[in-house]
Symmetry: C2
Subunit: 141 residues, 2 copies
């Protein structure tokens, strides 16, 4: 039982975290769905990001990824660049508008992070992060 509660605590944390992120993003009044924000985030973090990368990272069907990307392109938030290594694929990158949105989103993320970790010491945070990573690699092995 105590085992199970541990998992519970973690899941609950995440639940709250997601709710916060979601609410914050809504307040920005971007007319863009949460999923699109996630895609923008991925693109902004990974240089020379392709559609497959996104599908892999989000663990989602590539059909859906294609559609997410195409609406982002329509909204002028990202653009495609030829991939010289492979004519089938294209690198994705943020436009200035996309970058502007990401800056806002990052600000929100930072706020939430500050709030979430306000009374937690650097040492504790470090340990926490380390254990999270360990768990992660345990899972994927």
């Amino acid at each position: 039982m105590s085992d199970n509660q541990s998992l519970e605590g973690l899941l609950q944390l995440v639940h709250g975290l997601k709710r916060n992120l979601h609410e914050q993003i809504e307040q920005l009044q971007l007319d863009i769905a949460p999923m699109h924000v996630r895609v923008l985030k991925i693109i902004s973090r990974k240089p020379q990001c392709t559609a497959v990368d996104i599908a892999g990272y989000l663990n989602r069907d590539k059909a859906q990824v294609t559609r997410l990307l195409s609406t982002l392109i329509t909204q002028n938030l990202i653009e495609k660049r030829a991939n010289p290594q492979d004519k089938r694929s294209q690198y994705l990158q943020l436009t200035a508008a996309g970058q502007a949105i990401m800056d806002q989103v990052r600000g929100l993320d930072a706020n939430i992070y500050r709030k979430m970790t306000q009374d937690i010491s650097a040492k504790e945070l470090q340990d926490f992060e380390q254990i999270a990573q360990k768990m992660n690699s345990n899972l994927s092995s």
Copy 2:
């Protein structure tokens, strides 16, 4: 940047965790969606659970909850009991079949948890859990 990475590590962990849970549930071959499993879990944990409780816990529209519940009822996994305190609401509880499924699911959860925490000490786990709880309460305040 290091701030952001901390949040990243956590989100990534959760991502992997969810993927694992999802895969495992699929292997059970229950013909029941992940969302339904979540609902069953909530009902099994909270005695005298009502539809509003579920909506609140999942942070979802009550219309959707009604529909989730009605398919679970059709599948004979849960049933409604009159709430003597309030004629508008009904308590939800698992049927024997629902209970059987939950037993399987719990087994899977325990497996994943064991795998995830295999090389992590009890002390570390305890700290981890404690920090997760702290973060959670920070967020919701």
